[in-house]
């Protein structure tokens, strides 16, 4: 080849050790199975401390479970994503592809001990998260064979679009401004200002700017 002596062939076992990704079409998904029941045990032992017993916790991350309905499962669109009914957008409200959950738990969870679950444990705990969201039944056993069926029940499975100009290199922008130079607006109105309770929230600017220059940081301890 062109670059003689550089790099080497990967062995099949090496590829197997690292090639863990799972795609929406389930390419990469290893064979295996796990029940909701087993999942609950794993969850309570290894996940609930961070995500809450019902996946509702906001302590270390936004909630995983909540905000989805039976209708959503039927429609494949999470209704609460429009309007302001839900305070937080949970994982199950957003995720369209079950592979995403399986793949992510498999590669990154539990957060402080990633890549320590067995394949069957990933099936189980994924099934349990879906069970908490009312997507699969209490006695469900998820496996590589039935996962495609579960996909069809994902509440937001139709909630994604790739039809926009911000992905591909040749995509077109969706928002258009013009380079007006004079008399561009009649009247300028301030529509939003920093709420006074937030003034101190990010520290004192005088301590975040140099003591020289054209400006100083405002000193919140002195300022009116």
């Amino acid at each position: 080849d062109n670059y003689s002596g550089v790099g080497r062939a990967a062995t099949p076992k090496e590829v197997a050790a690292w090639d863990i990704d799972v795609r929406p079409d389930f390419r990469g998904l290893p064979k295996g199975r796990g029940s909701v029941e087993q999942g609950q045990q794993i969850w309570d032992g290894k996940c609930a401390s961070c995500h809450g017993t019902f996946g509702e916790s906001n302590q270390v991350f936004t909630p995983i479970v909540g905000g989805t309905t039976k209708d959503d499962i039927k429609n494949g669109r999470v209704a609460a994503l429009t309007g302001n009914s839900q305070p937080q957008r949970t994982t199950l409200m957003k995720v369209a592809t079950i592979s995403t959950l399986w793949d992510y738990v498999n590669r990154a969870m539990p957060w402080n001990a990633p890549k320590t679950l067995t394949t069957d444990e990933v099936y189980a705990v994924t099934a349990y998260m879906l069970n908490m969201g009312g997507i699969v039944a209490d006695d469900f056993v998820m496996s590589d064979e039935n996962i495609a069926e579960v996909q069809k029940r994902m509440p937001n499975r139709l909630g994604m679009t790739e039809k926009h100009g911000l992905w591909q290199t040749n995509g077109r922008p969706d928002v258009k401004n013009t380079a007006c130079m004079k008399d561009c607006v009649k009247e300028v109105k301030i529509t939003s200002e920093l709420p006074s309770f937030a003034r101190n929230a990010n520290g004192n600017p005088v301590e975040q700017n140099r003591s020289i220059g054209a400006v100083r940081g405002v000193d919140l301890n002195k300022a009116a």
Partner: protein, 401 residues
């Protein structure tokens, strides 16, 4: 009136004692060379630090630290002040132990050591990196006071490494079937992102160098992907693997996060490009002008679609605009520094900057963005930023219409 008394006003009597009486350092012997084999900033620069925004995230290993843009000059970000964004904490990998793999739709899956990678043809390029969530807090109302927190998930460095296309060719990429690549990190999160093949074969770099030295651990030491013009999450750190495939992967950070919620309830997925944007860094929120008179307004502009063509600045909230000077070099998918003269008359003012890139795209107003995308997108807010200056010279973050 102006709030602060300042040094350097006309002295009384014979003159400034700091000139009339020689300072100690002019009358003594200074410090030896290599007192610091690897040098540090002056002790007087300690205020310029990257900082977390309290309350923004819940755990510091899945969090962000913001770069202090309010104190930066030019376009190069000092490596020690490069913004951070980690999903499962940062690590300091022994580079001798690091391996990089390419697999998937290639003739031969290969493994490279750092030794291998550093033998290959290298390129060095200056590019900005911006988190897709930069300026996220501003989609709704004003929420944070300073440019460090509104725009500080932004940095710009000279990166050195191997073009990804060289590596993919070395493995014999199947040019017909290949449509996407997956980049995967070696840290706890094993971060994954899909990149379409057009980009992957264009200007993406498998990088080890940053600003002349190796990447910093917080930025992926010893290997990260550089995806020019694309949001930072795709610049996978501690890079361990590239897989070539024919479909996107819908990984966690492209199927649950970094997706843009539209008013319809649909999420846009796989948004990548960071559109043309700019911000005035001095004067900016939380700062205070010391005096009426001449000031140099300065800031940064960038575009994920190429070069910045022009930057206009308004001091009256967008009623009228003047074109700023662009400092060279003006490079594609790189920060551009702009400067413009301004005489502050001591009255209220609203400063804005508006960048235009080589495609002709004009940086939009926040309301124009909201008209199309609503207020819940979180990500990819490239709106014109407004800084209000009151009669005391105090600068605050505002939105205008």
């Amino acid at each position: 009136g102006v709030a602060m008394a300042r040094p350097g006003t006309v002295p009384e009597g014979d003159g400034d004692p700091l000139i009339l009486n020689l300072q100690d350092h002019a009358k003594t012997l200074g410090n030896p060379v290599v007192m610091q084999g690897y040098g540090q900033p002056s002790k007087f620069e300690a205020n310029l630090q990257r900082r977390q925004s309290p309350g923004l995230t819940r755990v510091p290993q899945a969090s962000v630290s913001f770069a202090p843009l309010q104190g930066f000059f030019g376009i190069i970000t000092p490596s020690g002040l490069h913004f951070e964004r980690h999903h499962q904490g940062w690590i300091d990998i022994d580079p001798e132990q690091h391996r990089f793999m390419i697999n998937g739709l290639v003739r031969e899956a290969k493994v490279y050591t750092m030794d291998d990678l550093m033998r290959l043809p290298s390129v060095s390029r200056m590019h900005f990196i911006e988190c897709g969530a930069n300026s996220a807090t501003e989609w709704g109302n004003v929420a944070v006071p300073t440019v460090q927190y509104t725009h500080g998930m932004l940095s710009c460095c000279e990166f050195t490494g191997v073009p990804l296309s060289v590596l993919l060719d070395d493995c014999g990429i199947d040019r017909k079937k290949a449509k996407f690549v997956l980049a995967e990190g070696g840290d706890g999160s094993a971060m994954t992102r899909t990149i379409d093949i057009a980009r992957a074969m264009d200007d993406v770099i498998v990088a080890y160098g940053m600003n002349g030295e190796m990447l910093r651990p917080e930025n992926g030491y010893p290997l990260r992907l550089v995806v020019p013009g694309v949001q930072g999450v795709s610049w996978v750190k501690w890079l361990r693997r590239i897989e070539v495939g024919d479909q996107p992967w819908a990984s966690k950070d492209e199927a649950i996060h970094y997706i843009d919620l539209q008013p319809s309830g649909l999420h846009r997925q796989y948004t990548s490009v960071q559109e043309c944007k700019s911000v005035i860094t001095t004067p900016s929120g939380g700062q205070m002008l010391l005096e009426k008179g001449f000031h140099n307004i300065t800031g940064l502009a960038w575009s994920g679609r190429g070069k910045v063509k022009r930057v206009d600045v308004s001091a009256d909230g967008g009623r009228s605009w003047r074109t700023a000077r662009l400092e060279g070099p003006v490079l594609g998918k790189c920060l551009t520094r702009f400067n413009i003269d301004w005489n502050w008359d001591g009255g209220p003012a609203i400063l804005q900057s508006r960048a235009i890139d080589e495609t002709g795209y004009v940086q939009p107003k926040i309301n124009q963005l909201r008209e199309v995308r609503g207020t819940k997108s979180i990500y990819h807010n490239n709106a014109i930023q407004s800084w209000n200056i009151n009669e005391d010279g105090e600068v605050t973050n505002v939105q205008v219409a």
